[in-house]
Amino acid sequence: MKTIRSMVIVSGDPVSLQRGASELMQALQKEIKAFDLADEITVAMASDLGRHDALPLVVVYPDAVVYGPVQPSQARLLVEEHLYKGRVAEALLAPVRELSGTIAWLRARKGTLPAEQRIVLRRAGLIDPESIDDYILHDGYQALGKALTTMTPAEVIDEITRSGLQGRGGAGFPTGRKWSFVAGAPGQPKYVICNADESEPGTFKDRLILEGDPHSIIEAMVIAAYAVGASEGYIYIRGEYTLAYQRLEKAIQQAEEYGLLGDDIFGTGFHFKIHIHSGAGAYICGEETALIESIEGKRGEPRARPPYPPTKGLWGKPTLVNNVETLANVPPIIRSGADWYRSFGTPSSPGTKVYTILGNVNNTGLIEVPMGITLREVITIYAQGMRDGRPLKLFQSGGSSGSIAPASLQDTPMDFESFRKAGVSLGSGALLICDDRTCVVDLAKVLMQFFRFESCGKCTPCRVGTQRSYEILTAITEGTARLEDLDELLRLGEAMETLSNCGLGQTAAVPTRDILKHFRAEVEAHIRLGVCPSGVCPMEKAAVPV
């Protein structure tokens, strides 16, 4: 019998792969064979390890020693020193860093570091994502077994409702309520859709979950299907995520072989099938009715609502649509209970949230922390401070459709309720942190360009409003705008917000509104004085002020 005494993980994010991670992995395997260690040491490629300063990284467990960057030619030294002789290969160690994603979490478990709390990412980077055995070894499919054999569908929904889980795709709708709508809706068959069309700029949390722990999504979907009475499921994944697609495909195949998916799951007679549907590049397909249209083989144009998907969704049948991160919370809640889950986060927003940290900070990357920590904590502890020691000017939370907030809000707890009260959207968890070299008009212009490009064009307020707003913002950056144009921007924004058919148009004007609310003086300086205070905008057509 094989006893695994050590596990070697190579970072497999795009940059590592470009820098030879595959060759490195082969070299490690070759050396491990050469030292006759193949029976006791496994080598696996993980996805993004959450640290990007010394790629490719090699992490050796169980001692969690981090090496990097490691060249294929150094594989022999690493294997000989660490795995054969059992001592740390000092020469190859990665620069010491306090917090670094997965690795930090592992060390935090030993009580040495402050709290990253991993629930949905607890296995990502620690298990071999292509092995169902590894997943099962790490408590995988236990929640499914518990739900199917000891709980009624109503009890499953009740547990999710009591946990207080809210949708993690951006809107924060209570998950348990959504499930009960679908369970109570008349009509058969019912569908469960996993929304993996993660296209919000600055957000890649779902990619990490799918690449690092694909089985957790399969398990969650089967539990959801059991709870709402669905027999068929779809994972709608964005076309750019090829690695995640392959891993899901493999995971589905393995789960079917093990009888955890398909007919007669766990011998209970319950049956459920999952199809993967790959998108073809359209931001709007993250909107649930557009996504459903796309699965049906049409242009991804949002439907008029009501009726909402829980009553009339895919092929006109009751349909549950949940985001990847939301689903990833389901198995832990079922396994450990709602009370356990509520011990994390705040009373109104229980659990954890995965954030992507981006922009002008020293460490960009991904963290999973309890709801309710503040941006100041994120910047100082996890991001290791602002880059070049510049001051924080503003942050944008939740991707393009999120809010632009001034530095003064950095001590507001980041949970759904507190942010809502402060007029900020938490959104998908992207935190774009900008220093004083960022011009608010330039930023708003880039965001409006995005909406102009991604608007599906079905409804007029959005199609025309985004175009017209973009023209005005461009005029401001060139120095040809007039003060009245700012009123026009606000008027357009109001029209888009109230009259657009879907969330894209309704939120497209948020950045513009926010900069006029918090940074009006800076915007007006472009127009009145003909200067960009941050020195970013070209202002080439500005009249010289007298």
Partner: protein, 165 residues
Amino acid sequence: MQVKTVDLQTSQAVSAAIEKHGASREALIPILSEVNRLLGYIPAEAFTEIKRQLRLQSSDLRVYESQLYSLASFYHMLSTEELGRHVVRFCESAPCHVVGGRELLTAVQETLGIQPGQTTPDRKWSLITTSCLGVCAVGPVLLVDDDIYGNVTPDQVPEILARYE
């Protein structure tokens, strides 16, 4: 009488795509994606060929060229125009923009001598701006064909592009 001929390569790509994804309404986007992947773009005759082959397989599946074109023009990953031998995709989303994306795009445009959406006269390069590629932690990001380059600075551009024949 004029006989329309369909390029053998197109016809084979369409057959392969339909075989892989099945002849059904919900397979239309996967079929178009597959043809796009195999041929690099979707030529006009491919729409007719998809319609023809789908009708042969399933007589109640009514699909028209206009419908297929409407799909191909909606989704950004599908192209109805032939692109250059290499495609540079540039992420113009805000997270890349604030960490040097703006300067990077200027450098790419100057090196290639084309604007986004254009192809060089020698058909070697196409430049396309794209939405977020999901690798924001290492922005600004360039995607050349299938290779992702992260943390790119303007002075690295000529060296990166020189790697492609």
